[in-house]
Symmetry: C2
Subunit: 212 residues, 2 copies
Amino acid sequence: MICVTILTVLGETTRDRQAERREATRREILQVAWELARENGLAQITLRDVAARVGMRAPSLYTHFPAKLAIYDAMFEQAWTEYEQYAVRVTATLPTAPRARLLALAYGFFDFAVADLARYQLMNQRTVPGFEPSPAAFAPSVRVVRAAVAMFAEAGVTDRGDIEIWFSLIGGLIDQQLANDPAGDSRRRLIERAMTMWADSVGLPPEPRDPP
Amino acid sequence: MICVTILTVLGETTRDRQAERREATRREILQVAWELARENGLAQITLRDVAARVGMRAPSLYTHFPAKLAIYDAMFEQAWTEYEQYAVRVTATLPTAPRARLLALAYGFFDFAVADLARYQLMNQRTVPGFEPSPAAFAPSVRVVRAAVAMFAEAGVTDRGDIEIWFSLIGGLIDQQLANDPAGDSRRRLIERAMTMWADSVGLPPEPRDPP
DNA sequence: GTCTATACTGTGATAGAC
DNA sequence: GTCTATCACAGTATAGAC
């Protein structure tokens, strides 16, 4: 009886160690993939390059991921999880007045997007041929949208169309910034004007504002 | 002297025929490439597939295009030229009142974009890894933007930021339509609201409107 | 000039030995 | 788990037939 218990404990410990080690390898692969995406472009990631930098041969990656697109899938989930945490962190320090709050949210999303082109392409564009996020990987982005909708509701905006126009506006500005002026801030300087336009249109009451 | 003239004429005729034939082959290759882009996806075009449907072997395509990306380049130019002609045609029948005119322009661009996903991806997104349009292929799109800016000026809008917000708004709605509801018209139904929002913000005078 | 045959390089993926 | 070997399939260069 004691022996069995010991064996079980040993077994579990071993399994834990293995799982832990496995997790670490997985994380390392993903980190290297992000590095290569930023260096060579998101779609230019190569299994041989990833493997070489991790210290393996390309086929060995298949021990940790069933396919190349599964690596993109994990990266997609990571990116949106990262944004979710970033958004939670930012929201905590946000002003409470509706206009100022939504303006700050816009700046937050804009800056997060523009800070990492490869990440933005994976999160919001279809830059990787054949890639479509799995439901599991999609979960964090759904939570983010739900949280945003809740914020709009608090600010008094519940019309789905108004919210979609808001997202279109921010998304369009980000796209243009990244496509035409990736290193500059020409579109970022339009955010306040765009947000005022939108807030006026949905009928948010004016409020005194202090610049960001 | 007569002989020389005849030979010259013959030479020119031959050259014309060859050039004509060459042009026809080029057009056929491009047309097949568009077909395959719509069937399998823009980035999934394969030289072997294109060649097979044209009735050639893959390396033979290099007689007509120096590289695969050169095919995308020619397609890019075709697509923007197509839009330019479409826009000219549409503009001729456009209302003259500024708000109605810009609204019609928005619908025109939106409908053109949504009508062909592969075309839109090539024109406005970076879906093909490594592709960047050449200056020559870029020319039609520059003309289109210039014409649009002229239309804004006629309507009384000259501020560059206002115009960029207009483009962001339309572009964002198109992106969302194609990404989240490619077969529907959920975002198209927001165009009028978005345009009113924008027109109010830039101070265009109100005018009686009739629905599209 | 136009096309084919062949071949080189690099890619994602699989099988089986250790 | 990781390796070697190999596959099928990309894009592309070249040589040569017509």
